[in-house]
């Protein structure tokens, strides 16, 4: 009778630890903390690529990849790095400074990123101060080198 309830309490304790220690969103993870927090994780992702006109930068948008979903839900260094690697392995179609996953019909215009920069930011509405607060949690840059080593990974204080 009490085993399922105890399991629920243990999973909720793990969820709490994930929220506090790993920055996990409170909506996921079985803690029943849905509808309790207005904080949003944001991963601003931009790529630097080489085109006929030289080096250019574009902001990645409109991606529904599971690695991005995972990194937004639990934004650990590993999850963000996995997402960054995926960005480096993806063909992009760039228009007006915005990079989208390249559709087949634009295959001839596809570009690959030389470098990807990701800024993990938390945005929250502050009811007391009446405005939106934005805090940078981590900044990561990954180059498309054979080793895929990070050229910069800064955890903001």
């Amino acid at each position: 009778m009490w085993i399922p309830a105890l399991a629920a309490a243990l999973v909720a304790a793990h969820h709490r630890w994930m929220v506090v220690a790993r920055g996990q969103t409170s909506w996921k993870g079985g803690g029943f903390a849905m509808f309790s927090d207005a904080t949003e994780n944001d991963l601003l992702t931009s790529i630097t690529y080489t085109s006929g006109a030289g080096s250019a930068t574009a902001e990645v948008t409109g991606v529904k990849d599971l690695r991005l979903v995972a990194a937004l839900a639990v934004p650990t260094e590993k999850a963000i790095r996995d997402w960054a690697r995926h960005v480096l392995d993806t063909d992009w179609f760039v228009q007006g400074g915005v990079a989208m996953v390249c559709p087949l019909r634009f295959a001839a215009s596809r570009v690959r990123a030389d470098r990807v920069s990701i800024t993990h930011r938390r945005v929250c509405f502050d009811a007391g101060a009446r405005g939106y607060r934005s805090v940078v949690v981590r900044e990561m840059t990954l180059a498309a080198s054979p080793s895929g080593e990070a050229t910069g990974d800064r955890l903001a204080s």
Partner: protein, 313 residues
């Protein structure tokens, strides 16, 4: 038909709860949320579907504890494979499958199921209320303010009760965008009425969730009628605002199991049906609320302070 249903639901929960649970799982198919081809989730999803089919066709199988033990493992395997996507009601469904596995193998399965369902509801609501109390952004009303400004599901209450205008919504949208683009603090003012409604929603939610937790965690101190009244009040005041039918149905199923009377269970089944149709009724109000929002005149430039709360800095 109604007499048959009343008699059926008047039997101990171990007679009908397994079938009803399978129908619920088949209806909402938790694995459908994430099961891309060729992944563990996909394999789990196929196995899950086959198990549910077998349990529905072969009634005796659905009363075997081993069947529910297997289903519990499959259910949590899916949650593990879709950790970033699985919602909280998926966990509750898993705990309920575990309850069935443990209770059906025991001596008084009906009673064990009823006590397990009561305890699960109590624990879930206690957790929900505690997290909300612990969250600063919830206590200050920020969560509901943000939801009323941007969540489509809150649009009817934002517009018709909170008095939200397009100008205020645009101001907040721009401020939020600036914050996402890197501005450390982007101010945006709020109408008093919207703030007041958010405050009421905030404290009502904490009060009703705490009340549900108390009446279900101390079942001896409260009557069946009290437990039904509090949980149904929660369902009405929550799901009329935000349709989350999957969560509503598993809660009503647990409540069905926890009350001993067939007539009460009939009424609760009606509540369950109401939860099924609520989303459609609510979705119909969204375009009307959107039109009301668009038609609402913007406050004249520079004349906002009379209707706005003051900014403290």
């Amino acid at each position: 038909m109604i007499d048959w249903l009343r008699d059926y639901l008047g039997t101990p929960p171990d007679v009908w709860a397994p079938q009803l649970t399978l129908v619920l799982l088949l209806f909402f198919r938790p694995w459908a949320q994430h099961s891309p081809a060729g992944t563990l989730s996909s394999l789990v999803g196929v196995t899950y579907g086959l198990c549910i089919g077998a349990g529905l066709i072969l009634t005796p199988v659905a009363h075997e504890p081993l069947f529910w033990a297997v289903l519990t493992v499959i259910h949590f395997a899916w949650i593990y494979s879709a950790y970033h996507l699985a919602d909280n009601h998926h966990y509750l469904e898993g705990y309920w499958c575990l309850s069935l596995a443990l209770a059906l193998g025991g001596a008084d399965a009906g009673d064990a199921l009823a006590r397990s369902a009561t305890l699960l509801i109590g624990v879930v609501f206690l957790l929900a209320a505690v997290w909300k109390l612990a969250s600063r952004s919830f206590r200050t009303g920020a969560f509901f303010l943000q939801s009323m400004l941007f969540d489509r599901r809150f649009l009817p209450i934002s517009v018709w009760i909170g008095g939200l205008s397009l100008a205020v919504q645009d101001e907040h949208r721009q401020a939020r965008t600036r914050a996402h683009q890197g501005v450390a603090f982007a101010p945006a003012d709020l109408p008093r009425r919207l703030t007041a409604v958010a405050g009421v929603l905030t404290w009502w939610t904490i009060a009703i969730e705490m009340a549900v937790a108390i009446v279900f965690l101390a079942p001896a101190a409260f009557s069946d009628a009290a437990r039904i009244a509090v949980l149904v009040l929660f369902c009405i005041t929550t799901y009329v605002l935000v349709p989350v039918p999957a969560f509503g149905h598993i809660l009503v199923l647990l409540l069905l199991v926890s009350v001993p009377d067939g007539t009460w269970r009939m009424w609760l089944l009606a509540v369950s049906c109401l939860i099924s149709v609520t989303p459609d009724m609510l979705f119909a109000t969204y375009p009307i609320a959107k039109r009301s929002l668009a038609a609402r005149p913007a406050p004249p430039a520079g004349a906002a302070p009379a209707a706005m709360a003051t900014t403290p800095h």
